[in-house]
Amino acid sequence: MKNEMHLEFSALSQNESFARVTVASFIAQLDPTMDELTEIKTVVSEAVTNAIIHGYEENCEGKVYISVTLEDHVVYMTIRDEGLGITDLEEARQPLFTTKPELERSGMGFTIMENFMDDVSIDSSPEMGTTIRLTKHLSKSKALCN
């Protein structure tokens, strides 16, 4: 049975925590392990932070869009902004690459997403903004009595 949710919120850094909790509490229905939840929350942090500081350069009028679909034991997540977009995607995805070194960015956002999720795909352009699609298959090896 399919279950979906869509979230939209102001591009304010104070909403990062809220975004993490919203996504994690939705996924909690599938009874993930505490580690899986932490990984997903971290990925949300990275993508939402990117939308706010790179996509919108902290313009609080920007909106961040998150969608999550749960089907069987798979999490399908999309995190989107209508901001500036990424000019060189291949370069952006390289570990340690950042266009904002003055903010002490680690440049590791995409690397983290790729490590913690099973699939990551990115669509981006100056006209459209940036859309990140991520998939994670949750482990099913839980206690037999559920």
């Binding site: 850094s13 509490s25 909690a28 505490m34 939840l37 971290t42 942090s45 983290i112």
Partner: protein, 77 residues
């Protein structure tokens, strides 16, 4: 009236941030205990059952004890 959930104490005037932090600490301890007894990382429902709260509330309280992360850094738990 309805379902009133009292988290820790009956003092409803306690600030949410403090109440959630206390619950968050309980969750941390529950996670450690269950990891030992189960021999693996517990699931969110296992922690929820242990503390007699809902899984979604485990998520809410756990965020309250996350080390403060500035927009400029991601902290790993």
């Amino acid at each position: 009236i309805g379902e009133i959930q009292r988290f820790i104490r009956d003092d409803g005037t306690v600030k949410v941030s403090r109440s959630l932090k206390e619950l968050g600490n309980k969750i941390r301890r529950a996670k450690d205990e269950l990891s030992k007894t189960l021999g693996r990382v517990p699931t969110v429902q296992e922690i929820a059952d242990h503390l007699e709260i809902e899984a979604e509330d485990v998520v809410l309280a756990q965020e309250a004890v996350r080390a403060p992360s500035s927009i400029h850094e991601t902290v790993y738990e």
